[in-house]
């Protein structure tokens, strides 16, 4: 594990093109170990694309991505779980027909060793012992995220907020060093956002995970992130502490609109 404060993730001139569309243009940034790093920006700015590049869903057209000292630009997606990158999705991507428990157990996949042959001979090859050991870990995560009551429910039947939480649990189960959260609070009410914010902070502070988060709720972004990067039309337009970024006129124009509600009084917005 990288020292706190050392660079854990570094994007270097990442460019991503889809035919004519330039989703990302020459984006460079660094994330330090132990940080909560947020990416904000207008819709279609390329935030999800950036996360997809890091998690391996997309391959950058050019540029490089380094993680924990190694170049992962061309590393297959599935190997990134093992080196410590976990993520959640903007639109829920749970295994709908599996129970919550199994969903989270899938997160342990790369940490488990038993294959199908020894799995079929469950009692004899040690597969059972391994299952139980991992089950213990998973139950811890379940306790942490307070989803005990739905442990055996199929993930597809849960309410939106719970599903988001299960997705987070599954990502945590990977034991990632870096966790990528794509709009973890979209569609949540205030109360759920508060819960989610607490989990993210705990993950960061107590579990020591580095967090890279995309979020549109400026309140959340301001409050919990250490540093913020702003993308617009695939280009990085600002980076720095939340306060500094929000003060940037370019950001205010491109992303927040002229008047900034987060800072100013809400009454004016309520005027009919």
């Amino acid at each position: 594990m990288a020292e706190p404060g050392a660079t854990i993730l570094a994007a270097d001139g990442v460019t991503l093109r889809f035919g004519g569309v330039r989703a990302l243009t020459d984006v460079s940034f660094e994330v330090k170990a132990g940080e909560v790093f947020s990416i904000i920006g207008p819709n279609g700015a390329g935030k999800t694309s950036m996360v997809n590049c890091i998690s391996g869903r997309y391959r950058p057209t050019s540029g490089r991505i380094r993680f924990d000292g190694a170049d992962i630009t061309r590393m297959p997606t599935r190997r990134r779980a093992a080196i410590g990158i976990g993520r959640t999705f903007q639109n829920l991507a749970l295994f709908g027909h599996m129970t919550v428990l199994d969903n989270i157990m899938v997160g342990r996949h790369h940490l488990m060793r038993h294959g199908f042959l020894s799995g079929m001979a469950y009692w004899f090859g040690g597969a059972q012992r391994e299952e139980i050991a991992h089950r213990r870990e998973v139950e811890e995560i379940i306790d942490f995220l307070e989803i005990q009551h739905v442990r055996k429910a199929p993930a597809g039947t849960l309410s939106y907020g719970l599903r988001k939480r299960v997705e987070l649990a599954r990502a945590i189960a990977l034991r990632p060093k870096l966790i990528l959260l794509d709009e973890p609070m979209a569609g949540m009410n205030l109360e759920e956002k508060e819960d989610m914010a607490r989990y993210i902070l705990d993950l960061n502070e107590e579990w020591g995970m580095t967090v890279l988060m995309i979020e549109h709720d400026m309140g959340v972004v301001m409050d919990i992130s250490h540093r913020v990067m702003v993308l617009d039309f695939g280009k990085k337009i600002a980076e720095g502490t939340p306060e500094a970024v929000l003060a940037d006129p370019h950001v205010r124009r491109a992303y927040l609109g002229e008047a900034d509600e987060v800072v100013s009084e809400p009454e004016e917005a309520l005027a009919p």
Binding site: M188, H216, E265
Partner: protein, 265 residues
């Protein structure tokens, strides 16, 4: 009110899969030419209410088991959704459900499916007027960003020339700028075209800023209603939906482990 309201929902009950009771005696009224907001926690039944009105409930094994829904004085509960569209109610569904493997233009043309007049072309132009960037996106709609998709979904609704648009969380997942833009457009639609809108939102602040009247739902019932202004000044609404304001705004960073969860119920 003087004139009969455009939409009237009287004491409806909605049941999913014959067992899950979601709405328990919900009533609300949407007057002609106004924007009415419907607020509420996750799972309160806001989307369900909209689907009950538009008839889409049935595609999800849901059913209105009690009460009635009247549109322009006529009962519409129990009518097939495609017929309800023809009567002038159009729902913009949660999560920008555009047809991903069609172009923007085709999506817009589909919006006019129920129409057979010759003004489809000029209406498309009008939509482009509201959302200039849709004109530039000539590829498949599936590759649009979230905000663009939301614009397309609203544009598609306009194509049907509805009397009432039901909007389900139009701001979900949009950047602050776009949220403003979308709400600006909602207001313009209402002012310029006189379209009545029933708006479901998590972003209470924005919703109350455009609506003239609002309802707050909890667990399938209306627990609070009033003019937008009145609600915006209600202490409970402030605490639970607006998150306090100004200096009192709680920071997400310093959340107390104990929170007041009790509501009106």
């Amino acid at each position: 009110m003087e004139a009969a309201p455009l939409l009237q929902v009287n004491n409806i009950e909605v049941v999913y899969n014959d067992v899950i009771l979601v709405l328990r005696g919900l009533s609300l009224t949407v007057p002609q030419g106004k924007i009415v907001a419907l607020l509420g926690a996750n799972g309160a039944g806001k989307s369900t209410t909209l689907k009950a009105i538009s008839g889409l409930l049935r595609t999800e094994e849901g059913e209105v088991t009690r009460g009635e829904i009247r549109f322009g004085g006529e009962r519409i509960d129990g009518i097939d959704p495609h017929l309800i569209v023809r009567r002038g109610i159009f729902q913009v569904m949660e999560g920008r459900r555009i047809i991903a493997d069609m172009t923007c233009l085709e999506n817009l043309r589909l919006g006019a499916f129920t129409r057979s007049d010759g003004e489809v072309k000029s209406d498309i132009e009008r939509v482009y007027g509201y959302f200039p960037r849709l004109r530039e996106r000539t590829g498949l709609a599936g590759y649009l960003s979230g905000g663009e998709q939301q614009m397309l979904a609203i544009g598609r609704a306009l194509m049907a020339r509805p009397k009432l648009i039901l909007m389900d969380e139009p701001s979900m997942g949009l950047s602050p700028l776009l949220v403003k833009e979308v709400f600006g457009i909602i207001r313009r639609l209402n002012e310029e075209l006189g379209i009545t809108i029933l708006l479901v939102e998590q972003n209470a602040r924005m919703a109350l800023s455009v609506a003239s009247y609002a309802y707050v739902m909890e667990q399938g019932k209306v627990v609070l209603d009033g003019t937008a202004e009145a609600l915006a000044n209600n202490e409970d609404v402030k605490e639970f939906y607006l998150g306090g304001h100004g200096a009192e705004r709680k920071s997400f960073k310093n959340l107390k482990s104990y929170k007041r969860r009790k509501r009106w119920l």
